[in-house]
Every structure is written in structure tokens, then in C-alpha cells.
Symmetry: C2
Subunit: 236 residues, 2 copies
Amino acid sequence: MCDTCGCSATANPESVEVLKGLLAANDHQAMHNREHLDRHRTLAINLMSSPGAGKTSLLEATIDALSEKLNMAVIEGDLETENDANRIRGKGVTAIQICTGTACHLDANMVHTALHQLPLHKLDVVFIENVGNLVCPASFDLGQHVNVALLSTPEGDDKAAKYPVMFRAADLILITKSDLLSLLDDFDPEKAASHVRALANPAPIHTLSARNGSGLHAWFDWIAGQMSQMNAGVRQ
Amino acid sequence: MCDTCGCSATANPESVEVLKGLLAANDHQAMHNREHLDRHRTLAINLMSSPGAGKTSLLEATIDALSEKLNMAVIEGDLETENDANRIRGKGVTAIQICTGTACHLDANMVHTALHQLPLHKLDVVFIENVGNLVCPASFDLGQHVNVALLSTPEGDDKAAKYPVMFRAADLILITKSDLLSLLDDFDPEKAASHVRALANPAPIHTLSARNGSGLHAWFDWIAGQMSQMNAGVRQ
């Protein structure tokens, strides 16, 4: 395990021990977060992707479509700026911005602090928009119920093969920016899906565009399905 | 400093000490790599970006244009697969693939091992294609002479504000995939540049497309300028 990133690059016995303790502490905090969310029957969805893959645009489209049916809030993770939180607030939805400084992922402690600023008893769904990074966020449990990985078409259809940790951890994969597909010669949605299946991940894969609205219904239906499971107590 | 990622999330005195030692060891190895490259007057260019921003495509176009003038080699960093190295080899250029497993960045030790597999005395330029990640690679000196950050237009023009560590560390910024600009309503090249300038980084910024070739000449001229500095001994 890499001593600086929780990854597998180098192994120094002293720091591996320190790291194990820290990851165990993160898991413990994440479990506490999940219990807290479960108590209020609030579904927590962790959105992860490369920078600029369209997480905030997807949330804006989701708020536009579902805000009459669901009470939602968003926890925004960014190294710097409140830009994304302000976009969400512009839609009339509460957003808690976590500025991580130079930290490359959210951790369970940061999310715990944010959860305590939200009226969970009134909320159906909390979206957690993780730091844009296709590597590190996948290794840190935040207490979410489900992980969603976004893959934007301009990134190329090989990303699941090249970033397997993220695409193994995903409960749902969304291929975003489908409106650009006609211009791209290096993105075949079937190839993208085959790379996910090669990781033995049977998660549903939907293709959509927040810009023109195509395919969004499948994402909304998936959220509704997760809500039903939560309310039926399947997860508890 | 975060105990797991070398970032600023949390501070545990014990692991901060371990980390400091590790980063110092990385810097020491990087200095050794740079001396090794300098001895052979081989320019090392570290390419960093989000996943799928077009680093490999840029290298392919660069090889096509410059292989008669320059002897080049590529060190490829990826979590998994030899795909990128194979694309470079397909152009007749030596590529050393480093598979980092779950590691989110290259470090100086990995690059040292790769350098010893290359005939540096015959090479003018070694390109290091870092792991696709807009956060962690910026913190690890590899022994390169210059850092190049790529920002692809579909990612949005706000990335320098949101990922300041990367864009502060860049000696050159390349705005890639300019062929998609006409379709994008959230990328203004002037805004992208203003975010870089707000970080007090005076680095040149060029806009290009490896797909249609536009703007590549400025990138080639920049490489030639770096080669001249190297050969004039300005850096030593």
C-alpha cells in the first residue's frame, strides 16, 4: 500500500500500520453515518467521476425533474470554490460545500460534519458529489448506500479497464454527455459496457445527456427503485 | 496533511512524520533522476491531466510530426492495461508501461526504474504520461524538467479554479479537444485562461486539437524552445 495515498505503490511497515488504523477509523465513522441516515430513512447516493464529467449538471437536471416529488439536499466536495454548491442553491436546494484544500477525496469525517448541518428527518435523498477523481474516492466509504460512477463520452470508452477500482465499486454506471457521441470516434457505448462486465460488475449502465435530457428517465427510475428498497427496509 | 493521500484533510502527528520522510525520500530520488537526465541532455516532460483529456492522442500526433527531428521515448503511467504504451509502440517509439495497480500517481522511484530501461544517451526527449488524475500527481516530483497540464474542453473552463495545485504546478497549459468547442456552452478559452492567471501562474496557454491538428504548431515550438534551453545549459 502506498504510504501517501492509501494505494498500492510502496510498502513501509511503519506507515502501513498507521494507514490501517486510519482506514479502520474511516470505516467506523462511515458506519456511524450510515446508521444516522438509516434512522431517518434518508437515501445517500455518492456520485464519483473524473473532473468535468457532468456530476453537477446531472444534479441540476435531477432537481428540475424530481423536486416536487422528493426532498433532496447535496453535499459538494471540491478542492476549492463554492461554485458547485451555488449552482445547486440556485435551484432552491440546500447544498453544503466541503472545500478539501488539497485533499483528493471526501472522507467519512467530512461527510459526518456536513450531515449534521442537514435536516435529515425532512430529507428523502442526500446526494454526495465527491471530488472529481477517478481513483482515490473509490477507496473511502462515506456511509453512502450506493455508489454511482459517471463516465463522460469524451473521456473514451476504455476507462473501466484503466480505472478498475472505481468501476468495480459502482452500483450504477452513467455514461454522460451522450449528445457529443456523434462527434467522437473513440467512444462505443457497447465497448464501454464490455469493460465494466470484464470486471465482473453486473451494475446497470445507462447512457444519458443532462444537456438535452435524453436517457434521464432511466436514472430517475433507478433513484425511485432505491427509494423503494430503502422504505421497504431491504437494506436494514 | 491527510494521512492517506499526502493531502491536507486531517493531521495525525505520527503519520505526518512518516509522510514527511517519504516525501523527502521521493524528492531525493527525483533529484537523482534529474541529474541522470541532465547528464545525457535528455529533456523530460511530465504530462498531467484528468482521465481521457487526450494525453496519448497528443503524444501520437507529436510523434507523427517530430519523429524525424527528435529521438523520443515515452513512460506510460496507468493503474492497469498496456493500452497506451501499445498505442505509442504502434508509432514506432519505445514506451515503458508502469502499471501502478491502485496507485493514483507516478512517483520518482517508478520513473527511476523506467529510466534505466531507456537508452538515454540516444534520446532527446522523454515524455512521462502520468496517471489520469487532476489532483495527486501534482504533488510528486519525478525528476522531470517541466510540467504540462492538459485541460480538455468538455471538462469545463473552471478547472484551474477547482484544481489549483495542478494548475499552479504547470509550466505549460494545453487546452485540448478544441474541435468540440462549437458544441460546448460551458467552455470559454478566455475564462479558462483567467482562472490560471488568478493563480498567479504566467505559463503559456495554447489551445489545440490532436484530432484535426489545429494549434499543434505552438506545442511543437514550445518543445523546441525547451530543447534549446536544455542544450544551452540554461537549466544546469
